[in-house]
């Protein structure tokens, strides 16, 4: 770790002010991703601005019947909040499927949105080529080890995936990210928050470096328990997803009023599949319908040498998740 300065702030305005003054400085939330990467020298901020004392830990019902998740609420508190367990069990499940109890106690909602890829070439600077870490250096994963890499939306510059489970559920729930910058607050739809790599894989999100996430706003959800988060991984717990699916169905006596479907582990961002959602809407619940939706969801997949399995795995995972969400299991 490089030497760095440390400053505590206790309100959003001071945080934004502090970060605008120090080029390259970073907010410190749970630290589970940032400190990890600093130890590897992937991140070398000259200054850390500790935002943990800003009162952004609340989880509250909003007037429209949705819920506002404080950016600094811990992942474990979010997953266990009665409002979330009752109205957004999909989100609870997704969070609880990730990391470990200890890490979830530390990790914040804001930090979770901004966690960086687990691509090994990115995380280990002994590999000199990584466009995300060192723009223009090349991508070691293209011809290297890429079993866990993206099959959708990748570019020739980067095939990394976004590792979050929570964000996959947030994508399905159409969350909005409320951020505050030097010019005030703005709202970014979750679908616009994470980027595809394109030619600038070093930029993960549309958040500006001087912006602070203050909350994640969930609109009211008609899905309730007709939802399911399914995660396939190489061991039973404490492992990142090979493929994950967040499925939610608004069911009315066997008919689908509307559905939401998002995939994890397959792309540079949580991969919402609106085409598949459209295929489901207005139809009667059935496995064959789910099969069609799954095919649609993966129609644009472009796997590489060692991750072709993900296409089939994702399809099957979608079918299973929809089957459970739809109550057909």
């Amino acid at each position: 770790m490089n030497p760095f300065e440390y400053q505590q702030v206790d309100e959003p305005a001071t945080a934004v002010d502090a970060i605008s003054r120090w080029r390259g400085s970073k907010f410190l939330a749970g630290g589970t991703n940032l400190i990890d990467l600093m130890k590897n020298t992937v991140e070398q901020p000259p200054k850390l601005i500790d935002i943990n004392h800003i009162p952004l830990r609340g989880i509250e019902q909003t007037p429209d019947g949705g819920v506002k998740l404080g950016a600094l609420a811990r992942n474990s508190d979010t997953a266990n909040h009665p409002l979330i367990r009752k109205n957004y069990p999909l989100l609870s499940q997704a969070i609880l499927s990730g990391a470990s109890p200890q890490l979830r106690n530390m990790a914040t909602n804001g930090g979770n949105l901004l966690q960086r890829t687990r691509c090994p070439y990115f995380m280990d600077p002994a590999f000199s080529r990584c466009n995300k870490r060192t723009p223009g250096s090349g991508c070691s994963a293209l011809e290297g080890f890429h079993e866990n890499h993206a099959i959708l939306g990748a570019s020739d510059q980067c095939i990394a995936t976004h590792p979050s489970d929570m964000c996959v559920a947030l994508a399905a729930l159409e969350a909005k990210v409320r951020v505050r910058g030097p010019k005030g607050e703005r709202i970014i739809a979750i679908g616009d928050f994470h980027r595809l790599p394109g030619t600038t894989p070093q930029i993960d999100t549309t958040l500006m470096p001087d912006e602070l996430i203050v909350s994640i706003d969930l609109p009211p959800s008609p899905y309730g328990s007709h939802s399911h988060y399914l995660k396939i991984r190489e061991r039973t717990s404490y492992a990142f997803a090979l493929v994950s699916v967040a499925a939610a169905i608004d069911v009315d006596s066997g008919w689908i009023r509307g559905a939401r479907l998002a995939l994890g582990g397959v792309a540079h961002k949580p991969w919402r599949v609106e085409a598949a959602e459209a295929a489901l809407a207005g139809q009667k619940l059935s496995i064959s319908l789910f099969e069609q939706a799954a095919s649609r969801a993966l129609s644009g997949a472009r796997p590489r040498r060692d991750n072709t399995y993900k296409v089939e795995m994702a399809k099957r995972a979608i079918i299973r998740a929809l089957t459970i969400a739809g109550g057909l299991a």
Partner: protein, 243 residues
């Protein structure tokens, strides 16, 4: 399973028992309390033990480290560990884990990976389990930190410690302090009804029934390479009944 024999000596070394810097596991405990390095000034001494429970029991000791040469990244923090306050001026880079092990010489908390991947460094901060390796010490001003050394009240072991011994929930013992701290928090989480990924019904709140499956999932943030998992599950189950 080695390529050469261990050296054979016909003369056995002189066997003066003082010669052996060794442990006497049958009877006494090794004293690995604060043995301060030369740059650590002892200001006061703590007498009571940070016993069971997480409240601050008494604040009597202040251990001060000499300031570092480069001031830019030096920072002063008061760490309350097992009820004892330590005032440390140190590099901002020092993690809570290294502060405990390398500065306060509380080596009960272990370093297995230093990256949040194993749970060996698990401690309780304000009663919640965290990985101390990914947490900077400077951020813990005012927090109540409980380590494995603070769980037992003197000779009296915490029920989980007793259960780990009874069910042989370890072999080499290196992951054990982390496992036990983790389990202490687990019991509290289950008591207040926190869900896990295998909890069948999220809508159901209230005390969680600690089935083996629940315990396994909830203890999965603590890797045991010796594979003592079945004993760990039994120990947690036993302790959950007695507590």
């Amino acid at each position: 399973m080695t390529t050469e024999n261990s050296s054979r000596t016909s003369t056995v070394p002189e066997t003066d028992s003082e010669e052996y810097s060794s442990v006497n596991p049958a009877t006494d405990m090794i004293d690995c309390k604060l043995s301060r390095r030369d740059f650590v000034k002892t200001v006061g001494y703590f007498t009571g033990a940070g016993a069971l429970g997480l409240q601050l029991i008494s604040v009597e000791t202040i251990v001060e480290c000499a300031p570092l040469e480069f001031s830019a990244s030096a920072h002063t923090v008061e760490l309350t560990v097992n009820g004892l306050v330590h005032k440390l001026t140190m590099d901002t880079r020092v993690t809570l884990l290294d502060a405990l092990r390398e500065y306060l010489k509380l080596t009960g908390t272990k370093k297995g990976c230093d990256h949040g991947q194993c749970g060996a460094c698990t401690v309780l901060v304000n009663g919640r389990r965290i990985n101390s390796c990914l947490s900077l010490a400077v951020t813990h001003q005012g927090d109540q930190i409980t380590t494995i050394e603070g769980l037992s009240g003197g000779e009296e072991l915490h029920p989980l410690q007793t259960a780990f011994i009874e069910h042989d929930g370890f072999q080499c013992g290196y992951c054990t302090p982390g496992q036990i701290c983790s389990a202490v928090a687990l019991l509290e989480e289950a008591r207040r009804g926190d869900a896990s990924f295998v909890t069948p019904d999220l809508a159901h709140t209230g005390r969680v029934e600690l089935t083996p499956e629940e315990i396994r999932e909830r203890m999965s943030g603590n890797v045991c390479r010796c594979g003592a998992y079945p004993g760990i599950v039994q120990a947690v189950q036993t302790a959950s009944r007695t507590l």
